[in-house]
Symmetry: C2
Subunit: 379 residues, 2 copies
């Protein structure tokens, strides 16, 4: 890749409305894309029009008065709730970062093929303030039976895959479903939830991979086992490094749930050419589950020595921004970042350590290349 | 280190009663030691006489009728509870692994000095079934004020350090203190809690570093900030890699809490000489917080390729045993193991990546050396 003076070229917008024209479109139909990473850092809360979009199907078009969410399975009182019914529950608000399990997949492509997956950079992550009702309050209305251990979800969408048509689905453990941070949200940053982000109603599961925050929520089922939906039982599983598309047994692999600890350099961008002298560097870090980011370090000698980054606001369930200053003589450099979470977990150094043929959960040290030009002649 | 045919020599027992004579004594007075790692794997539950011992002071000698636990600070009704009072609360039982933050410190000694700390091998970990009452039930009796965010603990012991005498102490966030898994325990594996393990009454904080499970529990204080006790505010903090004993600012550093993901090879032992042919290898893996071990892998080529270990019983809050089979031609080998937890976190490869001058939380890949002898002459 050549060195350049500008961020990566912005790609054309998809056919969906109300997204920022600078969105890096990974797939036009259905729309998938995220903001240029340096834009991510402009505010702790990502504006709706910049929030990354991960869609497996077109947004369903349902008249608001016809929209329903059913609650069934191991419950005492099965429910069919309308949007009006949701207004009878207490309102809750939470700021939470969503991150796709495929965030930073593009770096893994240097190690091998990753068929049928989007080549996300470090842009499949964003943060919003979500409002709605607690999933636990909806479940209490239905009455959860003792036999239930998992809560499965289906979307109103229709995914086309392998010659079949079926709704997107997921599940989470019942214990997580009952936690106060899990919302059935109808507002995003104070606005009605945009259709492209799952409106009128989506699930928000803070601390988990984005795929569990099911958009266009249609059905909630209490059951004894995790969902058998394609996106829980087949996709979004972490396979060992030696597994390939040719050898995979889809019954194996670990169903992804909580996010692993990660970080990324957002400014400068990779392969930037910069003048000599002090340069501000910055990025984000993210911890999974209920953990927080407690330390971010950067290195200019491939991890032989580390400098401590200054850390921004710390909020549960959200990313943490970091920044630092480097002062480099002319030459070529690699800048490396790693984060530590509140459980003393840190990131693996090498991409090979996290390689998996689906390209999920790449949390290896993030590295960018910098070329520091000689000082310009004042004449 | 020479290759040997036997496990490491057993060291002499300290002056404390009722511990297995094979205990690897790291310090005789006060007693600190753990079982030879291959013994750890003999049972999922570690027998009391083999359970590792971490003591910062002698066990206090208090007549049972005079033993009290006070609850004070931001509470509505301060309490002074006797052992008899504890019997009025509902009984709870949990199986939980305790692991010292210094487990596997010995490997880090190759990288630099670690003053004033014990050179634990992979033996500072054990598992027991603990019975007692929920800390949350005791706190409910006292009535927790809204202003409280942390729960601090003091022991009845008297630590001698830096010319001062003071009780061992620690704190945990209130949210953790109220969780159902946190016990004030008076039984260990069905027996009255042995004095050396904190009897008559200790705290058990599953998923956290062992130092938070305060032995000989004396005082419970609800407060707004973490404990200022030496063992919370000074020791048991994780410092950046460039911090040294000469440069440390003790106000910095991260107070340790949840354990990071780790694993260890217990059989064969390091520098074993083995005959050619199939050999069973085995060990333990441990995840922190409420996470579980979901994958263990081993490698004979320094992590270029990995084989999947078979996993034993999975229980929340406890370690998970693993095993595999290798079949080696004569020669010298390094065997490496790493684990993955349910949040897709894995272990760093190199010791240098986790180096800190206090030697805490070494969860780098565990490595042992093997020498496979030529086949013996049948004559």
């Amino acid at each position: 890749m050549p060195y350049h003076h500008q961020p990566a070229d912005n790609q054309p917008q998809g056919d969906q409305p109300a997204k920022d024209p600078t969105l890096l479109v990974r797939q036009a139909d259905p729309l998938n894309g995220g903001p240029p990473p340096n834009q991510l850092l402009e505010s702790f809360i990502t504006p709706n029009e910049r929030f990354f979009v991960r869609s497996h199907a077109h947004a369903p078009q349902i008249p608001p008065t016809a929209y329903t969410i059913s609650i069934d399975g191991f419950v005492d009182r099965p429910q069919i709730l309308t949007l009006a019914d949701l207004q009878h529950f207490p309102r809750q608000t939470i700021t939470a970062t969503l991150q796709c399990a495929g965030n930073r997949r593009d770096e893994l492509l240097a190690l091998g093929p990753i068929p049928d997956e989007l080549a996300w950079g470090s842009d499949a992550i964003s943060t919003a303030t979500w409002s709605g009702v607690r999933l636990g309050d909806l479940l209490a209305t239905a009455g959860v039976a003792d036999t239930a251990d998992h809560v499965a979800f289906l979307s109103h969408d229709r995914v086309q895959k392998h010659g079949q048509t079926f709704p997107f689905g997921a599940s989470i453990p019942l214990k997580k479903a009952l936690a106060s941070e899990v919302l059935v949200a109808d507002q995003m940053n104070g606005q009605p939830l945009p259709v492209i982000h799952g409106g009128p109603v989506r699930l928000i599961v803070p601390g988990y991979i984005g795929a569990r925050s099911v958009k266009w929520l249609a059905q909630i089922t209490l059951q004894t086992e995790p969902s058998t939906n394609y996106f829980q039982a087949h996709a979004y599983k972490l396979f060992p490094p030696n597994t390939t598309a040719a050898t995979v047994d889809w019954n194996d692999g670990m169903m992804l749930a909580e996010l692993s600890v990660t970080s990324a350099i957002c400014t400068p961008t990779d392969y930037s050419r910069i003048p000599p002298g002090p340069l501000r560097i910055s990025g984000y870090a993210m911890a999974g589950g209920n953990r927080t980011i407690e330390r971010v370090e950067f290195s200019l000698d491939a991890g032989q020595t580390w400098q401590q980054a200054q850390l921004g606001e710390r909020q549960p369930w959200a990313w943490r921004f970091w920044e630092g200053t480097i002062d480099l003589a002319p030459g070529a450099y690699q800048l490396v970042v790693r984060a530590w979470d509140s459980a003393a977990n840190t990131q693996p150094a090498q991409l090979a350590e996290v390689w998996n043929f689906k390209g999920y959960m790449n949390n290896a040290w993030h590295r960018i290349h910098l070329l520091v030009d000689p000082p310009t002649d004042p004449n």
